[in-house]
Symmetry: C2
Subunit: 407 residues, 2 copies
């Protein structure tokens, strides 16, 4: 046996990878997920003595579930069956539409990621396996595939929040060429892209594929070269879990100061100021945009209207408006909403974008909001898609929003 392979084996075994043997010593590793020639997808899982194994994910038709009298859509679930070798398998009955999905296996009732699939996403404190069905150049995944184009840089950068008295992390996308000497004095417009509740400064870059979307839109000339900034909207958090000085603290839904009007007032004086003094931005309203999904859409709305001279473009993707948070907060941030909206539109912003899915539980609240804009005669762009409160919609809204900026 080659000494190098021995070396590797030792290294891997030392690292605690019990399955390394299989990968290294010739046994065929299990392939899962496998996209078949006919477009169906096969999932596989080895656990010969399991009683019941299911797969659940958003590639399956949704099913209705009920909690506390609320009915909502949940991802479908399918039973896997054991083949002759004892491997649990499930093949979809139809070709799976090209898209980026997430799924887990449910083994005797316990959820687990697919051990054969190294592609794992973290959302809040939950891990899911990723299924990407790439499709052709006409399909959605083409928007966020990694193509052979110039790539921007993604930096994790820390700023100090005087308001909170802590160091906080944000992610910054700088377009291809930003660090080239030839561009040393070139300045760029900036879009701030905000995550939903439970997410953090990583969410748009992992599930949202924002860096790939930006790379591809900029390379094709559809979007202007721009800086994109991904904040952590949980103002009491320093950074994504496990990357902050709490080290081992796992986040829960009950994060303090999440939608109580604390984050929004710090945005322009702390975040925008930090970016404008540490990156080569064009520090003007004309060259500044903001957008966000769910809680991030809510944040974008209130940050924009409370700072009518700061943002020329606003995007609300499945915005979490009308949830009651506005009424509970004691902050002034949420007061006089439509008065502030009128004042904002009086300054003639270049774009107000609203995107939502027909099945989104926030559909009605967004419809009410649009009715107010209509009644006041404020112009906005509106995109309505199928589906609900899901990443596949948010990637589409972002892909549509970015080319509208800074033209």
């Amino acid at each position: 046996m080659n000494k190098l392979i021995t070396a590797l084996a030792a290294g891997l075994l030392s690292a605690g990878v019990a399955s390394a043997q299989q990968a290294l010593f010739g046994a065929q590793p299990l392939v899962s997920p496998q996209i078949n020639a006919d477009g169906t997808v096969t999932f596989r899982y080895t656990n010969p003595k399991a009683i019941k194994v299911e797969v659940t994910g958003d590639f399956l038709p949704t099913r209705k579930v009920t909690f506390n009298n609320f009915s909502m859509d949940a991802p479908g679930m399918a039973e896997m069956t054991q083949n002759k070798k004892g491997v649990w398998e499930y093949t979809t009955s139809e070709a799976v539409k090209p898209e980026m999905y997430t799924y887990t296996f449910v083994v005797n009732g316990t959820s687990t990621i697919d051990p054969s699939n190294m592609w794992v996403n973290r959302d809040v404190a939950s891990l899911t396996s990723v299924l990407l069905v790439p499709g052709s150049s006409n399909d959605t995944p083409n928007l966020y595939a990694i193509h052979n184009v110039p790539h921007g840089s993604v930096s994790k950068v820390w700023y100090h929040s005087d308001e909170e008295g802590i160091n906080r992390r944000l992610s910054v996308y700088t377009p291809a060429g930003y660090f080239d000497k030839a561009n040393a004095s070139k300045r760029y417009p900036v879009v701030y892209i905000l995550h939903g509740i439970g997410g953090d400064e990583d969410a748009w870059l992992t599930q949202g594929r924002a860096a790939q979307i930006l790379d591809n839109l900029i390379a094709s000339g559809k979007a202007e070269p721009m800086i994109a900034v991904f904040t952590n909207g949980n103002i009491a958090m320093e950074a994504a879990p496990l990357e902050n000085s709490q080290n081992y603290t796992i986040p829960t839904m009950a994060l303090p100061k999440t939608m109580d009007g604390t984050f929004e007032p710090t945005f322009v004086p702390e975040v925008v100021k930090f970016i404008d003094t540490h990156f080569r931005t064009i520090a003007k309203k004309q060259d500044r945009a903001i957008c966000g999904l769910s809680m991030g859409g809510f944040h974008s709305l209130y940050i924009a209207i409370n700072n009518p001279d700061s943002f020329n473009y606003v995007g609300m993707f499945s915005a979490a408006i009308g949830t009651g948070s506005e009424n509970k907060a004691t902050s002034d941030v949420y007061k006089n909403l439509y008065q502030k909206v009128d004042a904002f539109f009086a300054k003639k912003p270049a774009l107000w974008y609203i995107g939502i899915g027909k099945a989104d539980f926030l559909y009605a609240a967004n419809k009410d909001f649009r009715a107010k804009l209509d009644a006041a005669g404020h112009p906005y762009h509106y995109t309505e898609t199928e589906g609900g409160h899901i990443w596949r919609n948010w990637r589409i809204y972002l892909s549509e929003y970015l080319p509208m900026l800074f033209k």
Copy 2:
């Protein structure tokens, strides 16, 4: 029920997280791993109908395993037992020494990460769960904990390799203050930190905790502020798996051009040149260091001695020398090793560092190498630790090496 929570539930369910209900609706989520007051650690796993559940990881005493007549150390394995509620549990018999460990569960013979632990590491194409036992300020984990100190930035940056004709990614750590206007003309020394076989430009930043080690050493004044660059030593790869234009290709051990003399000649003309033209480096031998673990130690050796005017500091951590790769390669890079070593030392480098564990299977090869340096009268620093070819040693070597640089 609060509408916001409903919103969240819908979002999570749509994302395919079957276990979200539990986390959201009051049931106590399973805690695993749990560090107990007496320093023991408890692991938990729910799978009532499993027949046998084990935990394996490097926190347990190693066991000997044999492959093809090679005997080597593998992480220990312990059986978990089912408690009255059907939850599988294992509590270590003794307090676990403060350290960062990796582990997996083996359920009916199938390896899986711990579903209750969101901290997952990827090594090659394998995922493991992480156990961090933080300890006190005297313990090793203190070196790489995230403390409340100024943090550097970590950027993922792409350069073009003319030699390979592809875009390739590297990671760049810039110290706290790098992007401050006050430092706009400040230049920094650079250390290149290379990964082992199977790793990539992420490995030192995840399992290696290099950014935290740098932050802490710089903040305490033990190390000089410096730029650190983490290359991808697999020259035919664009970037870490799932982040390159192959999108779905999972790496195997059989990567082409890994230790055949192709990477080393491109290092100074492509990587160093890119860094020196895109970051504010001090572009001089006196302010340039290189080091690496295993394959990266091998690369560091040959890159340094083939470029005797480029690096003033060299670090070999468990370097993969004497594995036979040198003899098989047709490249000139590996020829006349000791002649080149003599020529390198004739130029009086500031530091040659060798670190290795007593149980490392590369111990003998490194001992032979040291004997050659001794015979030639070449000075070097030597650190010998317990244990083998493992990350906990490499984090220690890096923590020792960095303070020796640029003084």
